[in-house]
Symmetry: C2
């Protein structure tokens, strides 16, 4: 059996503490055991720079290279660390990611850092996260969105096709579709309510105007590392070596536009107006302590076809990531009411693993490139409070939520801020977080004709 | 009424002749009235360069700039002409494309060229097309594929949904879906037969293996010029200012994979293994003499919704481009039999215009970027010999074609070369061509597990 590529090592040691004090606070998303990568801009550096999140600070990798703190790494790694996107780093073999992670971990350890004591170096290589503008971590060449939660697929399927909720291909094919790369935005970017054609059951003719059924979708994004050549699929046993890490994804969806447009070629404008991702990419190595067996298929379900069936993937293909959706409306902000949690689900409940998604994607010879993004599809669980979108939570709007402000929600209103959060915790390991993925809904613009 | 942006002018004058003699031959795709843009590499220049096709030669725009032949153009245009892709040129306003076209036309005219007579300049700025490797003309950020032929939609719909061929949204929504940008290849690149999951009606369970129903699709690609900001749709009256030009597209399709995977999110791996495009982008200005009214909708069809309805687009939104599919099999090559024409159709028969496709695409606020590619969908006409894919031509394989070699074809076999051609002709104007889009089918690779 081949190794799945990313294993637990000394960088995960729960005893490790950082001299960046905020990284040692319980509940931080970014302890020294995490070390996610991202891209930021600051008042001192208007050019995008690679950074590593540590507590409430960002370690500037370019400055680290220039200060000689990463001497000894291969030249291509030094180049990757000084690039304006993560793509060159993602393109390197996973062993080199691991080496960089080890070096960064050493730099930040309370007992061994050469940085401690040098105020001038500290000022050079650290930026308080509040002073950093967090950007898209990579140039995303292609974005593909899957449908890997059988709970989501079954519930939504029942709404669109009551007689035929889960189609016969679902348990064989990791269903996915191509998404829109140009409209992926970084967390915090406001999202304008889309206009589009809609036709409800009582309308005789479709009309064009602002969507009245705007929804979020709680998803996890998978960033591709080294790509493959066109015509040369990635075998499942190799797939995780091609996965750099994960982020949170809000796949905003206009349900009324979707309903009218999606037959026969799938969702298009109901999705392409905006997709928000969280800024920090948590590496597969950071996630190693939280790997779990792939979902055990219920009795009667078929096994995956051979090209998607790997013993190592069955044993460790799942990732135990708790995922949450929070909402704060404009009236809540006005009255000082904190965001309210709408749902909590877990990535481990996916019907397909990340390796299966990537292998399936390339099984026809399609080439993926470093920085390409694959998203899980809405992560829903079996329980009502684990439904990852409003379409499910409110049963298509028929069962509205009541918020702490007394407001009701069937779908999103203007001014609503949606906040996705994710974290991993488990006995014997320090909790790590995925950070946040935020977006506030702006009113539609006036029709442009 | 606003102008549609591209008008007939002196560069279309049928009296114009070039001192590049091959450009004056009847039947050439690239007379001086065409001047399409592309990207090439040659033995003398391993770096990709911008070029203009003229007869059987390529005019090297970078060398023209460096030789001072384009002096006087704006600095951003000079920069665009020396870039390795068309993207920077596409990003400029259409008035600047027109200015460049005018200058290139002057350079190549028999009566006015400063090049003639200087052998050293000629050797520097021209490359015989046979010595040029023609590359992808642009870095394609996003690729979207439409379904704009009602003849194709109706015929294919009847195969997949006999009871419901043309869905109720078709005459309102320019149906489209996101395609895969990474696997778009330049004409001449061999295409490996994809593997994938298929399940025919008599199989109880799906199997994984090489597609047995590989097809081509004859399409026209539309390259986006200047983009729009996210959240700011492009009004239909402005749309053509955002279209740089067109090319031929072969949207290779694995029909058996498509049939099993496409519900409910649309085609995915059945398309993403490869898409071939022709290397020369024929500008909207070159097409100006061949503009025709948009398709007159049959009585009883609804008018387009307001955001897709523009008087100028109705009047000149169509483009009269004859499109052909040719096939040469390995046995035909072996026996010296020329390629055979399988179909001939015309872009003017599309239900939606290029402007409508682009405006619809951005109507939800989705941003397009220079170099993005929109494809028409299979261009089929009403007649049997105007069906733009084998699925239609052979009625899903039930009515095979007989080739001049005596072979039969239901779908593509290994070794088959598909050649798409396109051209415009009309009284009072010189014929211009889109060149060719070629691809030969390679056998599937061994399954990678």
């Amino acid at each position: 059996m081949k190794s799945i590529g990313h294993t637990v090592n000394e960088t995960h040691d729960p005893q490790l503490r950082s001299w960046v004090e905020s990284a040692n606070q319980p509940g931080t998303d970014f302890p020294i055991q995490n070390l996610p990568f991202g891209v930021f801009r600051s008042t001192s550096h208007s050019r995008p720079q690679l950074g590593v999140a540590i507590g409430d600070a960002v370690l500037d990798l370019r400055e680290c290279v220039q200060a000689g703190l990463l001497d000894g790494l291969a030249a291509e790694m030094a180049n990757a660390c000084t690039a304006p996107t993560l793509n060159p780093l993602m393109a390197l073999p996973c062993e080199q990611w691991s080496e960089l992670r080890g070096r960064v971990s050493e730099l930040l350890r309370v007992d061994s850092s050469p940085i401690v004591g040098s105020r001038s170096i500290m000022e050079r290589v650290f930026v308080p996260m509040r002073d950093a503008e967090l950007l898209l971590p990579a140039e995303i060449g292609d974005y593909s969105d899957f449908y890997a939660s059988i709970h989501h697929a079954t519930k939504v399927g029942a709404m669109f096709r009551p007689d035929n909720p889960l189609l016969p291909n679902y348990k064989y094919v990791p269903i996915g579709y191509h998404g829109r790369a140009s409209s992926i935005v970084a967390s915090g970017t406001p999202v304008r309510r889309p206009c589009g054609q809609t036709k409800d059951d009582i309308q005789e003719l479709p009309t064009f105007g602002p969507s009245r059924r705007l929804d979020y979708e709680l998803e996890v994004g998978i960033f591709v590392g080294p790509g493959n050549w066109q015509g040369e699929p990635i075998p499942i046993a190799e797939a995780e070596r091609h996965i750099f890490g994960v982020c949170l994804v809000n796949d905003w969806s206009a349900r009324d536009i979707q309903k009218w447009e999606y037959q026969p070629l799938g969702p298009f404008l109901s999705k392409s107006f905006a997709t928000t991702i969280s800024p920090w990419v948590v590496t597969m190595e950071a996630l190693a302590p939280f790997r779990v067996p792939a979902l055990v298929r219920p009795t009667g379900d078929p096994p995956p076809l051979d090209y998607l069936n790997d013993p190592s993937d069955r044993e460790r293909g799942g990732i135990d990531v708790t995922l949450e959706v929070w909402l704060q409306t404009q009236p809540m902000r006005d009255r000082g009411i904190e965001p309210v949690r709408l749902s909590r689900s877990n990535l481990r409940d996916m019907y397909w693993t990340a390796a299966q998604l990537l292998t399936h994607h390339t099984s026809n010879g399609c080439n993926v490139r470093p920085g390409d993004l694959l998203a899980s599809g809405t992560v829903s669980g079996p329980a009502k409070d684990s439904r990852g979108c409003l379409l499910e939570l409110t049963s298509r709007g028929s069962d509205p939520l009541t918020l702490p402000s007394g407001e009701q929600r069937r779908f999103l209103e203007n001014g609503d801020e949606v906040i996705l959060r994710g974290y991993c915790e488990g006995p014997g390991f320090v909790r790590i977080g995925l950070g946040e993925c935020r977006g506030t809904v702006l009113p539609a613009s006036a029709p442009a004709y």
